[in-house]
Symmetry: C2
Subunit: 147 residues, 2 copies
DNA sequence: AGCTAGATTGGACTCAGTCAATTCTGGATA
DNA sequence: TATCCAGAATTGACTGAGTCCAATCTAGCT
């Protein structure tokens, strides 16, 4: 795991540093983590290198994003969130009540929404879709107190 | 215009205050304005009430948003932006280079993207689409210096 | 004209992220 | 395997955007 993160980095021409490996590892099983989530997890991680400065974290996230190893999403009202899934044209469902985020696969290319009806002279390179609503648990909780 | 803003407010059960009327008026012809844009415009407006505190501005924007008189969008990397167009299911094109935002009409209900393929138990009430790319002028400018 | 719930103000504060100068280190080279 | 240096990390001050709270004001009902 550590090894594969290192390979991944080297393959994309980035140096394999403890900090970058730690961020990649922390993101596994922690989809949509915020910078604060990662900072906390890495600081509390047992094992060798358990430190990473705030600035360092932002640098790493920026480097990995530009290398397309991770993706950054910023739903309204939330700090930036990061995920390992890249290049699969997936989108997001966000719960207005608890902020939970779920991935949603979307047909690539075929869906009309991926091509704006009027492109207004823009060269479009990405379509980002966010569905807003309420997740099951929050809906149940709201119904239970039927006020 | 002042009058119609007042009517609009009263019709939705909100008090017609100088500050709220000023914000609604400022938003006409200023689509996708940020809070700072509005603050500056209102402070510099000739006519009677040219003041509005920062907190007041955010309160007004919040009130108007909850009354569905305006809509708030927050493209990644940009402060919140406000617009008068509501309830018409339109979406946005954003230029990665200059930040310009254009409205794009989208087929209501019919487009597959408006219904997530997997809803993961969510009750979805809004689909928000942002197309990212480069606008015509920025593309020309970039091509001109063909570096 | 008076009253009061609702609206606005001012000022301190938080949160997320950035800048700049210095120090450190991965990994290519000799 | 030791050296070197461009790329990476650290520290700490700083900014921008928005929020909190307590005091004051006012739209519009009576």
């Amino acid at each position: 795991m550590e090894q594969s993160a290192g390979d991944l980095l080297r393959r994309t021409g980035l140096r394999s540093t403890a900090q970058r490996r730690a961020v990649l590892t922390a993101l596994q099983g922690r989809p949509h983590a915020t910078a604060a989530d990662l900072e906390e997890h890495i600081a509390g991680a047992e094992g060798a290198s358990g430190t990473l400065s705030r600035q360092g974290l932002y640098n790493v996230l920026d480097d990995l994003t530009r290398a397309h190893l991770i993706r950054c999403i910023e739903p309204a009202g939330s700090p930036a969130r990061f995920e390992l899934r890249v290049g699969d044209n997936h989108h997001h469902l966000v719960c207005r009540t608890c902020g939970r985020i779920e991935d949603v696969d979307c047909a690539v290319g075929a869906a009309p929404c991926l091509d704006p009806i009027q492109d207004k002279g823009f060269t479009v390179d990405e379509a980002e879709i966010t569905w807003w609503g309420q997740c099951g648990p929050c809906r149940s909780r709201a119904a239970a107190q039927h006020s």
